[in-house]
Protein backbone atom coordinates (compact mmCIF):
# COMPACT_ATOMS: atom_id res chain seq x y z
CA UNK A 1 0.00 0.00 0.00
CA UNK A 2 2.86 2.36 0.78
CA UNK A 3 3.96 2.47 -2.82
CA UNK A 4 0.40 2.96 -4.03
CA UNK A 5 0.17 5.99 -1.79
CA UNK A 6 3.38 7.30 -3.27
CA UNK A 7 1.99 6.80 -6.75
CA UNK A 8 -1.17 8.66 -5.83
CA UNK A 9 0.85 11.48 -4.28
CA UNK A 10 2.87 11.74 -7.46
CA UNK A 11 -0.35 11.68 -9.42
CA UNK A 12 -1.62 14.59 -7.37
CA UNK A 13 1.55 16.55 -8.07
CA UNK A 14 1.44 15.89 -11.78
CA UNK A 15 -2.15 16.88 -12.28
CA UNK A 16 -2.64 20.05 -14.17
CA UNK A 17 -4.76 22.83 -12.77
CA UNK A 18 -5.21 24.11 -9.28
CA UNK A 19 -6.22 21.32 -6.89
CA UNK A 20 -8.01 23.82 -4.64
CA UNK A 21 -10.21 24.97 -7.47
CA UNK A 22 -10.93 21.40 -8.44
CA UNK A 23 -11.81 20.59 -4.86
CA UNK A 24 -14.07 23.63 -4.61
CA UNK A 25 -15.72 22.67 -7.87
CA UNK A 26 -16.39 19.17 -6.61
CA UNK A 27 -17.66 20.51 -3.31
CA UNK A 28 -20.00 22.95 -5.10
CA UNK A 29 -21.30 20.07 -7.20
CA UNK A 30 -22.16 18.15 -4.04
CA UNK A 31 -23.89 21.22 -2.65
CA UNK A 32 -26.03 21.58 -5.75
CA UNK A 33 -26.84 17.84 -5.83
CA UNK A 34 -27.87 17.98 -2.16
CA UNK A 35 -30.04 21.03 -2.84
CA UNK A 36 -31.79 19.19 -5.67
CA UNK A 37 -32.42 16.24 -3.33
CA UNK A 38 -33.71 18.64 -0.67
CA UNK A 39 -36.11 20.45 -3.01
CA UNK A 40 -37.35 17.14 -4.40
CA UNK A 41 -37.95 15.77 -0.90
CA UNK A 42 -39.78 18.93 0.14
CA UNK A 43 -41.94 18.62 -2.97
CA UNK A 44 -42.65 14.95 -2.34
CA UNK A 45 -43.57 15.75 1.26
CA UNK A 46 -46.91 17.13 0.16
CA UNK A 47 -47.48 14.26 -2.28
CA UNK A 48 -46.74 11.60 0.31
CA UNK A 49 -48.70 12.86 3.28
CA UNK A 50 -51.80 10.95 4.07
CA UNK A 51 -54.89 13.07 3.46
CA UNK A 52 -55.83 15.57 0.84
CA UNK A 53 -53.92 18.85 0.72
CA UNK A 54 -56.83 20.53 -1.07
CA UNK A 55 -59.16 19.49 1.72
CA UNK A 56 -56.66 20.67 4.31
CA UNK A 57 -56.43 24.02 2.58
CA UNK A 58 -60.16 24.51 2.06
CA UNK A 59 -61.00 23.49 5.59
CA UNK A 60 -62.84 20.58 7.18
CA UNK A 61 -66.28 22.06 6.59
CA UNK A 62 -65.85 23.06 2.92
CA UNK A 63 -68.18 21.59 0.29
CA UNK A 64 -66.76 19.09 -2.26
CA UNK A 65 -67.08 21.80 -4.94
CA UNK A 66 -65.08 24.24 -2.88
CA UNK A 67 -62.42 21.59 -2.35
CA UNK A 68 -62.23 20.91 -6.12
CA UNK A 69 -61.96 24.63 -6.82
CA UNK A 70 -59.12 24.84 -4.30
CA UNK A 71 -57.42 21.86 -5.93
CA UNK A 72 -57.42 23.64 -9.30
CA UNK A 73 -56.32 26.88 -7.70
CA UNK A 74 -53.33 25.14 -6.05
CA UNK A 75 -52.50 23.33 -9.31
CA UNK A 76 -52.89 19.93 -7.64
CA UNK A 77 -54.93 18.66 -10.62
CA UNK A 78 -51.92 18.97 -12.92
CA UNK A 79 -49.64 16.01 -13.76
CA UNK A 80 -46.88 15.41 -11.19
CA UNK A 81 -44.12 16.58 -13.55
CA UNK A 82 -45.84 19.91 -14.11
CA UNK A 83 -46.35 20.35 -10.38
CA UNK A 84 -42.69 19.50 -9.78
CA UNK A 85 -41.45 22.03 -12.35
CA UNK A 86 -43.79 24.68 -10.95
CA UNK A 87 -42.44 23.98 -7.49
CA UNK A 88 -38.91 24.53 -8.77
CA UNK A 89 -40.03 27.77 -10.40
CA UNK A 90 -41.46 28.82 -7.05
CA UNK A 91 -38.27 27.91 -5.17
CA UNK A 92 -36.11 29.89 -7.61
CA UNK A 93 -38.35 32.97 -7.60
CA UNK A 94 -39.05 32.92 -3.89
CA UNK A 95 -42.74 32.23 -4.41
CA UNK A 96 -43.52 29.24 -2.22
CA UNK A 97 -47.27 29.71 -2.10
CA UNK A 98 -49.58 30.96 0.64
CA UNK A 99 -50.04 29.58 4.10
CA UNK A 100 -53.27 27.58 4.42
CA UNK A 101 -54.03 29.07 7.80
CA UNK A 102 -52.97 32.71 7.59
CA UNK A 103 -53.41 33.08 3.80
CA UNK A 104 -50.25 35.16 3.62
CA UNK A 105 -47.24 34.25 1.44
CA UNK A 106 -45.06 31.75 3.33
CA UNK A 107 -41.95 33.60 2.18
CA UNK A 108 -43.08 36.47 4.44
CA UNK A 109 -43.29 34.11 7.38
CA UNK A 110 -39.77 32.89 6.57
CA UNK A 111 -38.27 36.36 6.34
CA UNK A 112 -39.88 37.58 9.56
CA UNK A 113 -39.14 34.50 11.69
CA UNK A 114 -35.85 33.14 10.31
CA UNK A 115 -33.60 35.85 11.86
CA UNK A 116 -34.64 34.82 15.38
CA UNK A 117 -33.72 31.19 14.67
CA UNK A 118 -30.39 32.03 13.02
CA UNK A 119 -29.50 34.39 15.84
CA UNK A 120 -30.12 31.69 18.41
CA UNK A 121 -28.13 29.06 16.52
CA UNK A 122 -25.14 31.29 15.74
CA UNK A 123 -24.91 32.66 19.28
CA UNK A 124 -25.01 29.14 20.65
CA UNK A 125 -22.29 27.97 18.25
CA UNK A 126 -20.12 30.90 19.25
CA UNK A 127 -20.53 29.87 22.89
CA UNK A 128 -19.68 26.25 22.00
CA UNK A 129 -16.47 27.19 20.18
CA UNK A 130 -15.33 29.80 22.71
CA UNK A 131 -15.79 27.42 25.63
CA UNK A 132 -14.98 24.02 24.17
CA UNK A 133 -11.66 24.70 22.40
CA UNK A 134 -9.74 26.28 25.31
CA UNK A 135 -11.27 23.98 27.94
CA UNK A 136 -10.68 20.85 25.84
CA UNK A 137 -7.11 21.93 25.08
CA UNK A 138 -6.44 22.67 28.74
CA UNK A 139 -7.76 19.30 29.92
CA UNK A 140 -5.90 17.60 27.07
CA UNK A 141 -2.67 19.23 28.22
CA UNK A 142 -3.29 18.43 31.89
CA UNK A 143 -4.08 14.77 31.33
CA UNK A 144 -1.52 13.99 28.59
CA UNK A 145 0.46 10.77 28.93
CA UNK A 146 -1.83 9.43 31.67
CA UNK A 147 -1.06 12.31 33.99
CA UNK A 148 -3.60 13.29 36.69
CA UNK A 149 -5.85 10.24 36.48
CA UNK A 150 -8.22 11.82 39.02
CA UNK A 151 -8.76 14.92 36.87
CA UNK A 152 -9.20 12.71 33.85
CA UNK A 153 -11.86 10.53 35.50
CA UNK A 154 -13.70 13.60 36.78
CA UNK A 155 -13.60 15.28 33.40
CA UNK A 156 -14.74 12.25 31.43
CA UNK A 157 -17.66 11.42 33.69
CA UNK A 158 -18.94 14.97 34.09
CA UNK A 159 -18.65 15.76 30.39
CA UNK A 160 -20.34 12.47 29.51
CA UNK A 161 -23.33 13.32 31.71
CA UNK A 162 -23.62 16.87 30.35
CA UNK A 163 -23.25 15.69 26.75
CA UNK A 164 -26.22 13.36 27.22
CA UNK A 165 -28.58 16.12 28.39
CA UNK A 166 -30.72 17.03 25.38
CA UNK A 167 -31.42 20.68 24.67
CA UNK A 168 -35.11 20.47 25.58
CA UNK A 169 -34.36 18.99 29.00
CA UNK A 170 -31.62 21.53 29.60
CA UNK A 171 -34.16 24.16 28.68
CA UNK A 172 -36.77 22.85 31.07
CA UNK A 173 -34.32 22.54 33.95
CA UNK A 174 -32.92 26.02 33.30
CA UNK A 175 -36.41 27.48 33.23
CA UNK A 176 -37.20 25.74 36.48
CA UNK A 177 -33.97 26.87 38.18
CA UNK A 178 -33.59 30.44 36.96
CA UNK A 179 -37.02 31.57 35.95
CA UNK A 180 -39.38 29.73 38.27
CA UNK A 181 -37.25 29.32 41.38
CA UNK A 182 -35.18 32.49 41.59
CA UNK A 183 -36.81 34.51 38.79
CA UNK A 184 -33.53 36.09 37.67
CA UNK A 185 -34.14 35.62 34.00
CA UNK A 186 -37.21 35.76 31.78
CA UNK A 187 -39.10 32.49 31.24
CA UNK A 188 -39.80 32.97 27.58
CA UNK A 189 -39.88 35.30 24.60
CA UNK A 190 -37.20 37.29 22.80
CA UNK A 191 -36.70 40.81 24.05
CA UNK A 192 -33.65 42.16 25.88
CA UNK A 193 -30.25 40.54 26.24
CA UNK A 194 -31.34 38.65 29.35
CA UNK A 195 -33.96 36.78 27.37
CA UNK A 196 -31.19 35.25 25.22
CA UNK A 197 -29.28 33.73 28.11
CA UNK A 198 -31.36 30.66 28.88
CA UNK A 199 -32.18 29.59 25.28
CA UNK A 200 -28.55 29.96 24.19
CA UNK A 201 -27.26 27.98 27.17
CA UNK A 202 -29.89 25.29 26.66
CA UNK A 203 -28.87 24.91 23.03
CA UNK A 204 -25.12 25.11 23.64
CA UNK A 205 -24.76 22.94 26.75
CA UNK A 206 -24.70 19.43 25.25
CA UNK A 207 -22.67 20.31 22.13
CA UNK A 208 -20.14 22.17 24.30
CA UNK A 209 -19.57 19.08 26.42
CA UNK A 210 -19.35 16.88 23.32
CA UNK A 211 -16.89 19.18 21.55
CA UNK A 212 -14.78 19.62 24.68
CA UNK A 213 -14.39 15.83 24.85
CA UNK A 214 -13.40 15.71 21.20
CA UNK A 215 -10.91 18.56 21.51
CA UNK A 216 -9.33 16.86 24.51
CA UNK A 217 -9.03 13.53 22.70
CA UNK A 218 -7.66 15.28 19.60
CA UNK A 219 -5.13 17.14 21.75
CA UNK A 220 -3.85 13.79 22.96
CA UNK A 221 -3.65 12.50 19.39
CA UNK A 222 -1.77 15.58 18.21
CA UNK A 223 0.61 15.41 21.18
CA UNK A 224 1.61 11.90 20.13
CA UNK A 225 2.57 12.98 16.62
CA UNK A 226 6.18 13.02 15.46
CA UNK A 227 6.06 16.71 14.60
CA UNK A 228 5.33 17.59 18.22
CA UNK A 229 8.47 15.72 19.20
CA UNK A 230 10.30 17.76 16.57
CA UNK A 231 8.86 20.97 18.00
CA UNK A 232 9.86 19.94 21.51
CA UNK A 233 13.38 19.30 20.27
CA UNK A 234 13.55 23.05 19.52
CA UNK A 235 13.21 23.78 23.26
CA UNK A 236 10.29 26.16 23.38
CA UNK A 237 7.92 27.13 26.15
CA UNK A 238 4.82 25.01 26.72
CA UNK A 239 2.62 28.00 25.88
CA UNK A 240 4.26 28.41 22.47
CA UNK A 241 4.14 24.66 21.83
CA UNK A 242 0.39 24.50 22.38
CA UNK A 243 -0.46 27.74 20.63
CA UNK A 244 1.72 27.40 17.58
CA UNK A 245 2.16 23.67 17.07
CA UNK A 246 -0.84 21.93 18.66
CA UNK A 247 -3.71 24.35 18.08
CA UNK A 248 -3.47 24.61 14.26
CA UNK A 249 -3.60 20.84 13.98
CA UNK A 250 -6.67 20.69 16.19
CA UNK A 251 -8.59 23.07 14.00
CA UNK A 252 -9.21 20.65 11.13
CA UNK A 253 -11.01 18.03 13.16
CA UNK A 254 -12.61 20.59 15.46
CA UNK A 255 -14.06 22.51 12.52
CA UNK A 256 -15.31 19.33 10.85
CA UNK A 257 -17.11 18.33 14.04
CA UNK A 258 -18.34 21.89 14.60
CA UNK A 259 -19.99 21.83 11.18
CA UNK A 260 -21.88 18.69 12.16
CA UNK A 261 -22.74 20.15 15.57
CA UNK A 262 -23.97 23.38 14.04
CA UNK A 263 -26.22 21.41 11.70
CA UNK A 264 -27.58 19.50 14.69
CA UNK A 265 -28.02 22.74 16.62
CA UNK A 266 -30.03 24.29 13.79
CA UNK A 267 -32.36 21.32 14.19
CA UNK A 268 -32.17 21.67 17.97
CA UNK A 269 -33.57 25.19 17.76
CA UNK A 270 -36.94 23.58 16.98
CA UNK A 271 -37.04 22.10 20.47
CA UNK A 272 -35.56 25.07 22.29
CA UNK A 273 -37.86 27.55 20.59
CA UNK A 274 -40.87 25.53 21.68
CA UNK A 275 -39.78 25.69 25.30
CA UNK A 276 -38.97 29.38 25.36
CA UNK A 277 -41.75 30.50 22.98
CA UNK A 278 -38.96 31.90 20.82
CA UNK A 279 -40.49 33.64 17.80
CA UNK A 280 -38.47 31.70 15.23
CA UNK A 281 -39.24 29.02 12.68
CA UNK A 282 -39.00 26.16 15.19
CA UNK A 283 -42.14 27.12 17.02
CA UNK A 284 -43.87 27.71 13.68
CA UNK A 285 -43.04 24.32 12.15
CA UNK A 286 -44.67 22.31 14.93
CA UNK A 287 -47.90 24.28 14.83
CA UNK A 288 -47.99 24.09 11.03
CA UNK A 289 -47.41 20.32 11.03
CA UNK A 290 -50.24 19.85 13.49
CA UNK A 291 -52.41 22.32 11.56
CA UNK A 292 -51.59 20.59 8.25
CA UNK A 293 -50.33 23.87 6.81
CA UNK A 294 -48.27 22.11 4.12
CA UNK A 295 -46.85 25.09 2.18
CA UNK A 296 -45.44 26.45 5.41
CA UNK A 297 -44.04 23.05 6.46
CA UNK A 298 -42.44 22.69 3.02
CA UNK A 299 -40.89 26.15 3.16
CA UNK A 300 -39.51 25.73 6.67
CA UNK A 301 -38.00 22.33 5.90
CA UNK A 302 -36.44 23.83 2.77
CA UNK A 303 -35.02 26.64 4.85
CA UNK A 304 -33.56 24.39 7.54
CA UNK A 305 -32.13 21.99 4.97
CA UNK A 306 -30.59 24.77 2.87
CA UNK A 307 -29.14 26.42 5.99
CA UNK A 308 -27.49 23.16 7.05
CA UNK A 309 -26.09 22.52 3.56
CA UNK A 310 -24.74 26.04 3.38
CA UNK A 311 -23.05 25.66 6.75
CA UNK A 312 -21.40 22.43 5.61
CA UNK A 313 -20.15 24.22 2.50
CA UNK A 314 -18.77 27.16 4.46
CA UNK A 315 -17.04 24.85 6.94
CA UNK A 316 -15.41 22.92 4.10
CA UNK A 317 -14.18 26.11 2.48
CA UNK A 318 -12.75 27.34 5.80
CA UNK A 319 -11.14 23.92 6.21
CA UNK A 320 -9.11 24.14 3.03
CA UNK A 321 -7.96 27.63 3.95
CA UNK A 322 -6.87 26.43 7.40
CA UNK A 323 -5.45 23.12 6.21
CA UNK A 324 -4.65 22.88 2.49
CA UNK A 325 -3.95 19.15 2.78
CA UNK A 326 -7.67 18.38 3.04
CA UNK A 327 -8.16 19.75 -0.44
CA UNK A 328 -5.33 17.67 -1.83
CA UNK A 329 -6.44 14.51 -0.07
CA UNK A 330 -9.98 14.90 -1.28
CA UNK A 331 -9.13 15.91 -4.85
Amino acid sequence: MASTTTVLALAAQQRRGNPWLRYLGRRAMYFVASLVVLVTLAFLLVQLIPGDPARASAGELATPEAVEARRIELGLDQPLVVQYLRFWGGVLTGNLGDSFTSRTPVIDVLTTRAPATLELALLAVAVVLVVAIPVGLAFGALTRGQRRPGTEAGFTSISAVVAVIPEFLAGIVLVYLFAVNVQWLPVAGRSDAASYVLPVIALALGPTAALTRIVRAETHTVLEQDYIRTARSRRMSAARLYRRHVLPNLLTSTLTISGLLLGGMIAGTVLVENIFAWPGLGSTIVSSIQGQDFPLVQAIILFYGAAVLLINLVVDVILIVVDPRTALDAA
Partner: protein, 259 residues
Protein backbone atom coordinates in the same frame (compact mmCIF):
# COMPACT_ATOMS: atom_id res chain seq x y z
CA UNK B 1 3.26 -26.48 -13.78
CA UNK B 2 4.87 -23.15 -14.48
CA UNK B 3 3.81 -20.89 -17.30
CA UNK B 4 5.25 -17.58 -18.49
CA UNK B 5 3.63 -14.41 -17.14
CA UNK B 6 3.68 -11.80 -19.87
CA UNK B 7 3.02 -8.08 -19.64
CA UNK B 8 2.26 -6.69 -23.11
CA UNK B 9 2.72 -2.90 -23.33
CA UNK B 10 0.85 -2.48 -20.07
CA UNK B 11 -0.13 1.05 -19.10
CA UNK B 12 -1.87 1.78 -15.80
CA UNK B 13 -3.34 5.18 -15.07
CA UNK B 14 -4.96 6.77 -12.05
CA UNK B 15 -7.53 9.54 -12.15
CA UNK B 16 -9.76 10.79 -14.94
CA UNK B 17 -9.66 13.43 -17.65
CA UNK B 18 -7.09 16.17 -17.28
CA UNK B 19 -5.84 14.76 -13.99
CA UNK B 20 -4.74 11.40 -15.41
CA UNK B 21 -1.43 10.11 -14.16
CA UNK B 22 0.30 7.09 -15.67
CA UNK B 23 1.90 4.99 -12.92
CA UNK B 24 3.00 2.36 -15.45
CA UNK B 25 3.79 3.30 -19.06
CA UNK B 26 3.87 0.68 -21.79
CA UNK B 27 5.78 -2.03 -19.95
CA UNK B 28 6.72 -5.19 -21.87
CA UNK B 29 8.07 -7.87 -19.58
CA UNK B 30 7.95 -11.66 -19.30
CA UNK B 31 8.51 -13.72 -16.17
CA UNK B 32 9.90 -16.99 -17.58
CA UNK B 33 8.79 -20.34 -16.14
CA UNK B 34 10.76 -21.25 -13.05
CA UNK B 35 12.91 -18.12 -12.90
CA UNK B 36 13.32 -15.56 -10.15
CA UNK B 37 13.05 -12.17 -11.86
CA UNK B 38 14.03 -9.14 -9.81
CA UNK B 39 12.14 -5.88 -10.31
CA UNK B 40 13.93 -2.86 -8.89
CA UNK B 41 13.25 0.84 -8.87
CA UNK B 42 12.65 3.68 -6.45
CA UNK B 43 9.37 4.45 -4.72
CA UNK B 44 6.80 5.64 -7.22
CA UNK B 45 8.50 3.83 -10.11
CA UNK B 46 5.39 1.72 -10.65
CA UNK B 47 6.79 -1.69 -9.74
CA UNK B 48 4.11 -2.53 -7.15
CA UNK B 49 1.34 -1.18 -9.35
CA UNK B 50 2.50 -3.49 -12.16
CA UNK B 51 2.36 -6.48 -9.82
CA UNK B 52 -1.07 -5.55 -8.50
CA UNK B 53 -2.35 -5.48 -12.07
CA UNK B 54 -1.19 -9.07 -12.60
CA UNK B 55 -3.38 -10.31 -9.73
CA UNK B 56 -6.38 -8.17 -10.65
CA UNK B 57 -6.12 -5.62 -7.85
CA UNK B 58 -5.61 -2.95 -10.51
CA UNK B 59 -6.97 -2.76 -14.06
CA UNK B 60 -4.52 -1.90 -16.83
CA UNK B 61 -5.87 0.96 -18.93
CA UNK B 62 -4.00 -0.28 -22.01
CA UNK B 63 -2.15 -3.44 -22.98
CA UNK B 64 -2.78 -6.88 -21.58
CA UNK B 65 -1.35 -9.45 -19.21
CA UNK B 66 -1.14 -13.14 -20.12
CA UNK B 67 -0.49 -16.28 -18.15
CA UNK B 68 0.60 -18.82 -20.76
CA UNK B 69 -1.92 -18.15 -23.52
CA UNK B 70 -4.74 -16.92 -21.28
CA UNK B 71 -5.40 -13.20 -21.07
CA UNK B 72 -5.78 -12.58 -17.34
CA UNK B 73 -6.19 -8.80 -17.36
CA UNK B 74 -9.79 -7.53 -17.18
CA UNK B 75 -10.68 -11.21 -16.84
CA UNK B 76 -14.07 -12.68 -15.95
CA UNK B 77 -15.14 -16.27 -15.44
CA UNK B 78 -12.66 -18.96 -16.49
CA UNK B 79 -9.85 -16.48 -17.18
CA UNK B 80 -10.32 -14.91 -13.74
CA UNK B 81 -10.04 -18.41 -12.26
CA UNK B 82 -6.86 -18.96 -14.24
CA UNK B 83 -5.50 -15.68 -12.86
CA UNK B 84 -5.48 -17.23 -9.38
CA UNK B 85 -2.41 -19.18 -10.48
CA UNK B 86 -0.66 -15.86 -9.93
CA UNK B 87 -0.29 -15.22 -6.20
CA UNK B 88 1.11 -12.31 -4.26
CA UNK B 89 3.03 -11.94 -0.99
CA UNK B 90 2.71 -8.49 0.54
CA UNK B 91 5.20 -6.16 2.17
CA UNK B 92 3.68 -5.53 5.57
CA UNK B 93 3.57 -8.55 7.88
CA UNK B 94 1.33 -6.55 10.25
CA UNK B 95 -1.48 -6.26 7.76
CA UNK B 96 -1.34 -9.36 5.56
CA UNK B 97 -3.34 -11.66 7.86
CA UNK B 98 -6.90 -11.19 9.06
CA UNK B 99 -6.44 -10.36 12.76
CA UNK B 100 -9.72 -12.18 13.54
CA UNK B 101 -8.72 -15.53 12.04
CA UNK B 102 -6.10 -18.07 12.99
CA UNK B 103 -3.10 -18.71 10.77
CA UNK B 104 -4.63 -22.10 9.94
CA UNK B 105 -7.91 -20.54 8.78
CA UNK B 106 -6.04 -18.17 6.50
CA UNK B 107 -4.11 -21.03 4.88
CA UNK B 108 -7.31 -23.08 4.69
CA UNK B 109 -8.97 -20.35 2.66
CA UNK B 110 -6.18 -20.64 0.10
CA UNK B 111 -6.56 -24.43 -0.05
CA UNK B 112 -10.32 -24.19 -0.60
CA UNK B 113 -9.92 -21.59 -3.32
CA UNK B 114 -7.24 -23.67 -5.05
CA UNK B 115 -9.55 -26.70 -5.14
CA UNK B 116 -12.37 -24.56 -6.46
CA UNK B 117 -10.13 -23.19 -9.20
CA UNK B 118 -9.14 -26.68 -10.28
CA UNK B 119 -12.79 -27.67 -10.36
CA UNK B 120 -12.41 -30.43 -7.79
CA UNK B 121 -14.28 -30.76 -4.54
CA UNK B 122 -12.21 -29.40 -1.68
CA UNK B 123 -10.76 -32.04 0.61
CA UNK B 124 -12.47 -32.56 3.95
CA UNK B 125 -11.72 -30.24 6.84
CA UNK B 126 -9.50 -32.83 8.51
CA UNK B 127 -7.45 -33.44 5.36
CA UNK B 128 -7.11 -29.71 4.76
CA UNK B 129 -5.95 -29.23 8.32
CA UNK B 130 -3.25 -31.83 7.79
CA UNK B 131 -2.23 -30.13 4.59
CA UNK B 132 -2.05 -26.73 6.31
CA UNK B 133 0.21 -28.32 8.91
CA UNK B 134 2.48 -29.69 6.19
CA UNK B 135 2.65 -26.27 4.57
CA UNK B 136 3.67 -24.70 7.88
CA UNK B 137 6.39 -27.35 8.25
CA UNK B 138 7.52 -26.56 4.72
CA UNK B 139 8.23 -23.01 5.87
CA UNK B 140 10.06 -24.28 8.96
CA UNK B 141 7.27 -23.61 11.44
CA UNK B 142 5.61 -26.16 13.72
CA UNK B 143 2.28 -27.50 12.42
CA UNK B 144 0.69 -26.60 15.76
CA UNK B 145 1.13 -22.94 14.86
CA UNK B 146 -2.04 -23.26 12.76
CA UNK B 147 -4.10 -22.50 15.87
CA UNK B 148 -2.26 -19.28 16.65
CA UNK B 149 -3.54 -15.79 15.90
CA UNK B 150 -1.36 -13.61 13.66
CA UNK B 151 -0.55 -11.23 16.52
CA UNK B 152 1.16 -14.04 18.40
CA UNK B 153 3.79 -14.44 15.66
CA UNK B 154 6.91 -12.39 15.00
CA UNK B 155 7.25 -10.43 11.78
CA UNK B 156 9.63 -12.99 10.29
CA UNK B 157 7.32 -15.88 11.19
CA UNK B 158 4.35 -14.11 9.64
CA UNK B 159 6.19 -13.56 6.36
CA UNK B 160 7.00 -17.30 6.33
CA UNK B 161 3.31 -18.08 6.82
CA UNK B 162 2.57 -15.65 3.97
CA UNK B 163 4.84 -17.78 1.78
CA UNK B 164 2.94 -20.88 2.93
CA UNK B 165 -0.41 -19.30 2.07
CA UNK B 166 0.83 -18.33 -1.38
CA UNK B 167 2.04 -21.86 -2.20
CA UNK B 168 -1.17 -23.35 -0.75
CA UNK B 169 -2.89 -21.84 -3.78
CA UNK B 170 -0.61 -23.97 -6.00
CA UNK B 171 0.67 -20.97 -7.94
CA UNK B 172 2.40 -20.83 -11.28
CA UNK B 173 3.85 -17.40 -10.51
CA UNK B 174 4.43 -15.74 -7.13
CA UNK B 175 4.76 -11.96 -6.90
CA UNK B 176 6.87 -11.07 -3.88
CA UNK B 177 6.39 -7.36 -3.16
CA UNK B 178 9.17 -6.09 -0.86
CA UNK B 179 8.58 -9.09 1.39
CA UNK B 180 11.57 -8.47 3.64
CA UNK B 181 11.73 -4.68 3.73
CA UNK B 182 9.73 -4.52 6.97
CA UNK B 183 11.90 -7.19 8.63
CA UNK B 184 15.18 -6.98 10.50
CA UNK B 185 18.14 -7.92 8.37
CA UNK B 186 18.89 -10.82 10.72
CA UNK B 187 15.71 -12.70 9.73
CA UNK B 188 15.64 -11.58 6.10
CA UNK B 189 17.88 -14.45 4.99
CA UNK B 190 15.63 -17.14 6.50
CA UNK B 191 12.57 -15.90 4.57
CA UNK B 192 14.42 -15.54 1.28
CA UNK B 193 16.13 -18.94 1.55
CA UNK B 194 12.72 -20.54 2.09
CA UNK B 195 11.21 -18.83 -0.90
CA UNK B 196 14.12 -19.92 -3.07
CA UNK B 197 14.05 -23.54 -1.86
CA UNK B 198 10.31 -23.86 -2.37
CA UNK B 199 10.62 -22.33 -5.81
CA UNK B 200 13.21 -24.91 -6.83
CA UNK B 201 11.14 -27.71 -5.36
CA UNK B 202 7.73 -26.68 -6.76
CA UNK B 203 8.86 -25.02 -9.98
CA UNK B 204 6.88 -21.78 -9.81
CA UNK B 205 8.42 -18.54 -11.01
CA UNK B 206 8.87 -15.46 -8.85
CA UNK B 207 8.67 -11.76 -9.64
CA UNK B 208 10.82 -10.42 -6.83
CA UNK B 209 10.12 -6.73 -6.20
CA UNK B 210 12.70 -4.98 -4.08
CA UNK B 211 14.51 -1.71 -3.64
CA UNK B 212 17.52 -3.54 -2.21
CA UNK B 213 19.93 -4.22 -5.05
CA UNK B 214 22.24 -6.35 -2.91
CA UNK B 215 19.40 -8.75 -2.07
CA UNK B 216 18.25 -8.88 -5.69
CA UNK B 217 21.78 -9.61 -6.76
CA UNK B 218 21.95 -12.62 -4.44
CA UNK B 219 18.58 -14.22 -5.15
CA UNK B 220 17.52 -13.29 -8.71
CA UNK B 221 18.43 -14.86 -12.05
CA UNK B 222 17.44 -11.83 -14.07
CA UNK B 223 16.65 -8.27 -13.10
CA UNK B 224 14.42 -5.55 -14.55
CA UNK B 225 14.83 -1.86 -13.68
CA UNK B 226 11.89 0.56 -13.64
CA UNK B 227 11.83 4.34 -13.42
CA UNK B 228 8.85 6.71 -13.54
CA UNK B 229 6.58 3.87 -14.69
CA UNK B 230 8.73 2.77 -17.61
CA UNK B 231 11.06 -0.19 -17.98
CA UNK B 232 14.68 1.01 -18.14
CA UNK B 233 16.46 -2.28 -18.78
CA UNK B 234 16.11 -6.03 -18.34
CA UNK B 235 18.83 -8.64 -18.34
CA UNK B 236 20.87 -11.24 -16.55
CA UNK B 237 21.44 -10.10 -12.95
CA UNK B 238 25.23 -9.99 -13.05
CA UNK B 239 25.17 -8.42 -16.48
CA UNK B 240 22.85 -5.61 -15.39
CA UNK B 241 24.45 -4.98 -12.00
CA UNK B 242 28.06 -5.19 -13.12
CA UNK B 243 27.85 -3.73 -16.63
CA UNK B 244 24.64 -1.69 -16.69
CA UNK B 245 23.72 -0.40 -20.13
CA UNK B 246 21.67 2.50 -18.77
CA UNK B 247 22.93 5.54 -16.87
CA UNK B 248 20.04 5.34 -14.40
CA UNK B 249 20.97 1.79 -13.43
CA UNK B 250 24.57 2.86 -12.79
CA UNK B 251 23.28 5.70 -10.65
CA UNK B 252 21.19 3.28 -8.57
CA UNK B 253 24.13 0.93 -8.09
CA UNK B 254 26.49 3.75 -7.16
CA UNK B 255 24.08 4.92 -4.47
CA UNK B 256 24.13 1.60 -2.60
CA UNK B 257 26.23 2.09 0.54
CA UNK B 258 28.96 -0.52 0.89
CA UNK B 259 30.29 -2.19 3.96
Amino acid sequence: MSMPLTFETVTITFGHGSSTFAAVRGVDLTVQPGEMLGLVGESGSGKSTLARAAVGLQEPSAGRILLGDTVISRARGAAARERRRVQMIFQDPQSCFDPRRTIGQSIDEALVQAARREGVAAAGARARRAEAGELLQAVALPAAMADRMPTELSGGQRQRVAVARAIAARPSVVLADEITSALDVSVQGAVLNLLRDLQRELGFSVLFISHNLAVVRVVCDRVAVMRHGALVEVGDTLQVLEQPSQAYTSELIAAVPTL
